[in-house]
Symmetry: none
Subunit: 201 residues, 4 copies
């Protein structure tokens, strides 16, 4: 996977400057011109790089985009943990509201749609995404849910992966398919509904 997406550290004499210029150019361009008009030629030109340098190190446009996201996520001082005030309901609402805000942020909307487009058609990229980009964040979510589980706020036999998908799935789907307004209130509703279930209590 690593080598497949061009981040191999063992490769000799690879230009780090070119690598960074390419990833930055790719991220900027996809935000400016959109996914449909993103081209390898455009990335190379913006980065001041020969096309071959891209083709040499990445197997596809999607792989470049993926590495661009990876670079950004590593650049970010990833919040070491999700908030844990003891109030599960409030904490989850805060986190899902943050997710909603990010999905609505035009700076991230187009690039993330582009990445999802590639993931949609490239299983290898999907696996890389699950492992390298989504994985760390998912681990943080699990931590918070485990903590709630220990506090007796969640079922003991709950599959945390399912719980996460129950909370974030509706949001992501609304975002991807634009099937409804993606508001903070919606985030709250999802949290409440997921925690309490559809049945009457």
């Amino acid at each position: 996977m690593t080598a497949q997406h061009g981040t191999a550290p063992g490769t000799r004499r690879r230009s780090e400057a070119s690598r960074r210029a390419i990833l930055i150019a790719a991220f900027e361009l996809v935000g400016e011109v959109g996914y449909a008009k993103l081209s390898i030629e455009g990335i190379a030109a913006r980065a001041g790089v020969g096309k071959q340098t891209i083709y040499r190190w990445w197997p596809s446009k999607g792989a470049v985009l993926f590495d661009a996201f990876l670079m950004l996520s590593e650049g970010t001082g990833d919040s070491p943990a999700l908030p844990d005030t003891g109030d599960l309901d409030a904490d989850l609402k805060a986190v899902l509201r943050a997710t909603v805000a990010e999905l609505n942020d035009p700076r991230y909307d187009e690039p993330m749609r582009a990445l999802n487009t590639e993931i949609l058609h490239d299983p290898a990229l999907a696996a890389a995404y699950a492992e390298r980009l989504d994985g760390p964040m998912k681990e943080l979510k699990k931590q918070r849910l485990r903590s709630a589980q220990r506090a007796g706020q969640l079922s003991g036999d709950l599959d945390l992966n399912v719980a996460i998908e129950m909370l974030w799935g509706p949001l992501l789907n609304r975002w991807l398919q634009r099937s409804g307004p993606l508001t903070p209130e919606y985030a709250d509703t999802v949290v409440e509904t997921a925690l309490n279930g559809l049945r009457p209590r």
Copy 2:
């Protein structure tokens, strides 16, 4: 909307034979060569049609694909209603298992991914999808849930749109991002977790 996606019935002297050939060619080709290699030229060639005939009636490749799906869904004897045995849990599991089966069907996988790719980047198409393709199915789902609500099996103040997203969102997300195995058992787990909620009961 109608005119925008080439299904205008009032248009004069349009060749129905060409229209059908184009939609069939589009659907078949996307399954054979994949979304990335699907081209208007290819569709025209396969359909035995001039390129202009496509450009005249559809604004984009996605619109053709959309109409191809529409034709198929209309061809299908639309199930008039979802099963309603009175056992909400069992009925939902049956329906979600059917959804899982369809998503895993290789005949529908690639075309549906292609359509989702277009929806991802084209709000107009997303709206058309919500209204014409997803809408009717969503109405059936709502019917079944309303029936359960009347029977006191679901909260009275439940937003049915949210309920539907809580049930189908996790499935669609797993399918789109390939973030986990999409099995009948998973469908069951989602139904149970959604109905009962994440909290201990």
Copy 3:
């Protein structure tokens, strides 16, 4: 041959404007940037034409160049006959001096070298050259020599092709290989030497 080099008159719906623009651009460019830097892309750009329009109608860069020359030679009101004053020696000197002048003309030097480069490596193009470009001129030369033969100024059993090569071969060789100065005086010397032979008289 005709069809092979894009001059086919029967081809339907070919753009004559594009054809002319390409040939003119090719001829001008080869004179400006030289043969080594002449590129299909450059010709297309200069002609305001898509690359495919060149690739559609010509099999090679050399074929374009050839047609460019053909267009020019047809544009020229080709002198209907070589001078025939009765004085063979003087007439030949005049014609060979004209050849020398043309070979020394910088406007024709580079394009003609380019064409010869292509001919050097492409037998089909060489045949086209012999037939379409060199052929008509050669026929005029033969006419003049036949007239001299009738007047008893040339051997009756002389092979006119050989005679022509004896007269023009030395000039062309000096020009191609730059093996010596190409002056009017040299033209005179060649005529005299060829007519009288190397042996003492």
Copy 4:
């Protein structure tokens, strides 16, 4: 000139093995893949040499080719003199027939065409060719013609350069432009015509 074409003897620490490998590779490759597909990269790869080693010592592809020919011609035990039986006619026919045979030899045809291509566009290379490759052979020809001149078989006031061009020019031209069959009989005809002249005797 010397330095310009990479034969500098004074250069320090130059690898003779690499030099030879490059020249041999260049000669072999031009015969195998043709002039159009001959590349510096190809030569370097075949010779097992870095590209820089070629760029360091030769200014152009043509210069490499030239040196390759030079190496071969020096390898040949240079015929010390042309045949001189006293029969000028027979001797010249023998020599021109040998030239014809060489020009028709497929082992030399492609490489010589390649060299001529470069000469066509590079005056410096043309001068080097005239001096180093063609020069020695031309001197031998002049020797034979001088001998004939002394024997009264050639005009006393004949310019020997012109005589040589009169004899070899037609051959070279037919070869370069493929303007006619290049046979031993043609060589004979050229000799006879050149010696006797075009006029009736």
